[in-house]
C-alpha cells in the first residue's frame, strides 16, 4: 500500500513536471503569435512547372525571414496547399485557408484559371489575394476585384514589348501560334487584340494541345503564309518542341519570338542548340548579369538568383520570382499593419515602387498589377545563354 502510494506520488510529480514543461516551453520559444500567410500553388499536375519553383522560393524566403527573427518578432508561418493544377481542389484549398486556417492574406494560385476560380471567394470573404498568375481578368474590372492583386506581368505588357520590337526590326507580317490552355489562350487574346492597334498584320493563328508530340504541321502551314516572324505562346514541353521543329524545318530565316513563358535556361538546354537566335521578352529576374549595376532591381535579383541556384542547383524561372514578390509584399504588409485583412488590402493598394523580382511595382486603386511593359527586356539566345537584343 505504501509502495503504491509512493509510486502514485512519484507519478503525479512527474506528470506535473511534464505538463509544466509542455505548457511553458513553446511560449518561451515563440514570444509572440506567429503570422500566417496562406499559400496555394500548383506544385503537382499540369502546371507544376510553375508551382514547383514557386513553392521552393516561398519556403526558402520564409526560412530566411524566420532566421532573421520573423516579422518583428512574429514567426512567419506558411500554410501551403497544393491545388494539383485542379480548380475544384484550388477552390477547396482557398476556402480552407479562409475558414479553417483563418489566414489574413493569401498568395497564389499559380495559374490564371485557378485564380479566377477563387477570386469571388476572396472578394466576399474580404481576404486579400496576391495572385502569381498573369491574366488581366484577374485584376479587372478593378471595382469587382477590390481584394485581388497580382504580381505576374500582364500578357498585354509582353505582347506590346514584342510587337514594338518587331516593328523596330521592320517586321509587319506576323504569324502567331498558341497552346490551347489558359496560358496560351490569354496570350492569344492580347496578340489578336493589340495587332491592329499597333499596325501588325497577322497572317496565321495556329493552335496546338499542351501534350502534342509534333508541331511541324502548324509550322508548315505558317511557312506557307510567308510571314516574316513567328510568335509562339506556351509553357512546358511544347515551347521547346516549337523551337526544335522550327529549326528542323529550316525556317530559321523567319524571326522566332517566344513568350515570356520561355524564361528558363532549362528551355535553352532542352532545345539543344536549336534555340540559337530565338527572341523573347524577359523579366530582369531571369537575366541578372545583363541588368546594369545602377538599375534598382540589380541587388534583389542578384541576391535571389544566388540563393535559389545555390540551394536547388537549377536555373530559375520567372515563376519563382512571382512567389518571391507576392510573399515579400504580404510579409511587408503584415509587418506594417499586422494581421488585419482590410488594413493589408489598403496597404497593398497604395504600395508604390516596390522593388521586386518581376519589376518595380506601383499599385494604385485603379491598377492592382503595378507593372508596365518596361519591366520586360527583349533578349535573344546567343551561344546557349541570354543576350540583350539590339
Amino acid at each position: 500500500m505504501r509502495r503504491f502510494g509512493k509510486g502514485w506520488r512519484g507519478a503525479a510529480t512527474l506528470t506535473f513536471c511534464l505538463v509544466l514543461v509542455w505548457s511553458v516551453v513553446p511560449r518561451l520559444a515563440a514570444a509572440k503569435e506567429p503570422y500566417k500567410v496562406g499559400v496555394v500553388f500548383a506544385v503537382t499536375g499540369g502546371a507544376s512547372i510553375l508551382g514547383e519553383p514557386e513553392k521552393r522560393t516561398a519556403e526558402m524566403l520564409a526560412e530566411e525571414i524566420n532566421k532573421k527573427g520573423g516579422i518583428d518578432g512574429h514567426k512567419l508561418e506558411l500554410v501551403l496547399y497544393d491545388d494539383e493544377s485542379d480548380e475544384t481542389k484550388c477552390v477547396l484549398a482557398v476556402k480552407k485557408l479562409i475558414k479553417t486556417d483563418k489566414v489574413p492574406v493569401i498568395i497564389g494560385p499559380s495559374v490564371s484559371g485557378n485564380t479566377l476560380a477563387v477570386v469571388s471567394e476572396c472578394n466576399e470573404a474580404k481576404v486579400p489575394l496576391i495572385s502569381c498568375a498573369a491574366a488581366i481578368k484577374i485584376v479587372t474590372p478593378v471595382e469587382d476585384r477590390k481584394w485581388i492583386f497580382k504580381v505576374a506581368p500582364s500578357d498585354s505588357h509582353s505582347v506590346e514589348r514584342i510587337y514594338e520590337f518587331l516593328l523596330k526590326k521592320g517586321i509587319k507580317k506576323v504569324a502567331i501560334m498558341t497552346v490551347s490552355d489558359g496560358y496560351g489562350a490569354s496570350g492569344r487574346e492580347e496578340l489578336l487584340r493589340l495587332a491592329p492597334q499597333m499596325g501588325i498584320e497577322l497572317l496565321a493563328d495556329e493552335r496546338y494541345g499542351p501534350k502534342d508530340t509534333d508541331l511541324t504541321a502548324q509550322l508548315t502551314r505558317i511557312r506557307g503564309t510567308g510571314a516574316q516572324a513567328l510568335v509562339n505562346w506556351s509553357v512546358g514541353p511544347t515551347q521547346v518542341l516549337a523551337v526544335k521543329n522550327w529549326k528542323d524545318l529550316g525556317m530559321t530565316s523567319m524571326t522566332f519570338v517566344q513568350s515570356h513563358g520561355f524564361a528558363s535556361k532549362k528551355n535553352i538546354e532542352l532545345a539543344g542548340g536549336a534555340a540559337e537566335g530565338v527572341f523573347c521578352p524577359l523579366g530582369r529576374v531571369n537575366i541578372p548579369e545583363l541588368v546594369p549595376a545602377n538599375h534598382p532591381q540589380k541587388q534583389v535579383i542578384m541576391a535571389y538568383n544566388e540563393a535559389y541556384q545555390g540551394r536547388f542547383k537549377e536555373p530559375l524561372s520567372a515563376f519563382g520570382g512571382h512567389a518571391w514578390d507576392s510573399l515579400k509584399l504580404a510579409v511587408e504588409a503584415l509587418g506594417a499593419v499586422g494581421p488585419d485583412p482590410a488594413k493589408i488590402r489598403d496597404y497593398l493598394e497604395n504600395r508604390k515602387n516596390f522593388v521586386g523580382q518581376g519589376g518595380v511595382f506601383n499599385f494604385s486603386p485603379t491598377d492592382h498589377c503595378g507593372l508596365s511593359k518596361n519591366d520586360f527586356e527583349m533578349v535573344v539566345v546567343k551561344n546557349g545563354t541570354w543576350a540583350l537584343a539590339q
Partner: protein, 298 residues
C-alpha cells in the same frame, strides 16, 4: 522567307501524320495483344510508352544507342511482367470493368513513380542519327522520322513472324480465337496472359524510345498516347493487328492534314469524330468482325 508550295506542304503533313500515326499504331498493337488474350483493355499501355522514352534518355547517357535501346525495352518489359504478376494474375474471375479500373490504378501508380524518378520537367534526346533534316519533295524530314517508321515496320514484321511461326505465337492466336477452346486443347492461358503483357510492354517501350527525340518526354505524357492508341485499336477493330497499324496511320494522317489544312485547334476532335462515325457505321471497327465481337465478354 520563301513560301512553301502546297504540294510541299502536303508532303510535309503526310510525313508528320505517318510518324505520329505509326506511334499510335504501335500503342494500338500493345492494346490488341493484351485484348486478344484477356478481352480487357490495359489503360496503362500509354505509361509503357512514357517509361520507354524516359528510360531511353537515361540509358543513352552511358550506353551506345543499340544497347541502350535493348536495355530500355528489357526494363520496361520487366515492368509489364511485374504488373501482370501483382495486379492481373491474382484477380480471380473479376469483371472486365474491374480489370480496367485496376489497369487505370496501375497507370496512376506508374505515372507517380516516374514523377519521383524523373521529376516533372520534360527530357530531350538527340536524334539517333544527327539533327540534320533531309529534304524530300520540298519537305524537310527529320531523320528520326525514318527511325520511327523503320522500327515500327520491324515491330510489325517480328510480330507477324512470332504469331505465324512460333509455338507461343500460335498459342496466343488460339486464345484470341476462342479462349475456352484454347484452354481445352491444353494451352496455359495464364502464361499467355503474362506473355501478352510482356510483349505489349516491350512494344510500348520501343515506341517511346524512338519517338522521344522528336516529341520530348515527361512523366505525364502517357495518358494522351494511350488514348490515341486506344482510339486506333478500336478504329482498326479490337484484336486485328493490321487493323491497328492501318488505323493508327489513318488517325495520324487525318490529324495532321486537319491541323495543316482546316483547323489546328480542332485536329484531335476531327480525329475522334472520324472514329465515331466509323464506329456508327461499322460497330466493330474497320477490320474487326461483327461475329467475333459478339462472342467477346465485354
Amino acid at each position: 522567307m520563301e513560301k512553301l508550295s502546297l504540294g510541299g506542304q502536303l508532303v510535309q503533313y503526310l510525313f508528320t501524320g505517318v510518324t505520329v500515326g505509326s506511334v499510335y499504331g504501335m500503342v494500338a498493337l500493345g492494346f490488341n495483344i493484351i485484348y486478344n488474350v484477356t478481352e480487357m483493355i490495359n489503360f496503362a499501355q500509354g505509361e509503357f510508352v512514357m517509361l520507354g522514352g524516359l528510360m531511353m534518355v537515361v540509358c543513352a547517357k552511358f550506353l551506345p544507342l543499340p544497347m541502350a535501346f535493348v536495355l530500355t525495352v528489357a526494363i520496361v518489359t520487366a515492368v509489364g511482367v511485374l504488373m501482370e504478376r501483382f495486379t492481373i494474375n491474382p484477380l480471380k474471375n473479376a469483371s472486365v470493368l474491374t480489370l480496367i479500373i485496376v489497369t487505370i490504378a496501375v497507370s496512376i501508380l506508374l505515372k507517380g513513380i516516374a514523377m519521383f524518378i524523373w521529376g516533372k520537367d520534360p527530357y530531350v534526346m538527340q536524334p539517333f542519327s544527327g539533327t540534320k533534316p533531309i529534304h524530300l519533295f520540298g519537305a524537310a524530314v527529320q531523320t528520326q522520322i525514318l527511325w520511327v517508321l523503320g522500327i515500327s515496320a520491324v515491330v510489325v514484321v517480328l510480330l507477324t513472324l512470332f504469331f505465324r511461326k512460333t509455338r507461343y505465337g500460335k498459342a496466343m492466336l488460339a486464345c484470341a480465337d476462342n479462349l475456352e477452346a484454347a484452354r481445352l486443347v491444353g494451352i496455359k492461358v495464364k502464361f499467355m496472359v503474362l506473355l501478352s503483357f510482356a510483349l505489349s510492354a516491350a512494344i510500348g517501350a520501343a515506341a517511346g524510345a524512338v519517338i522521344t527525340p522528336i516529341s520530348l518526354m515527361e512523366y505525364d505524357r502517357g495518358a494522351l498516347l494511350g488514348l490515341k492508341g486506344f482510339g486506333a485499336a478500336v478504329l482498326g477493330g479490337l484484336g486485328s493487328f493490321y487493323g491497328a497499324v492501318a488505323a493508327g496511320l489513318i488517325l495520324g494522317i487525318v490529324e495532321s492534314l486537319c491541323a495543316g489544312l482546316i483547323s489546328s485547334g480542332y485536329k484531335d476532335a476531327v480525329g475522334l469524330l472520324v472514329l465515331l462515325l466509323v464506329l456508327f457505321v461499322r460497330p466493330s471497327g474497320l477490320f474487326g468482325s461483327v461475329e467475333a465481337s459478339k462472342i467477346k465478354k465485354f
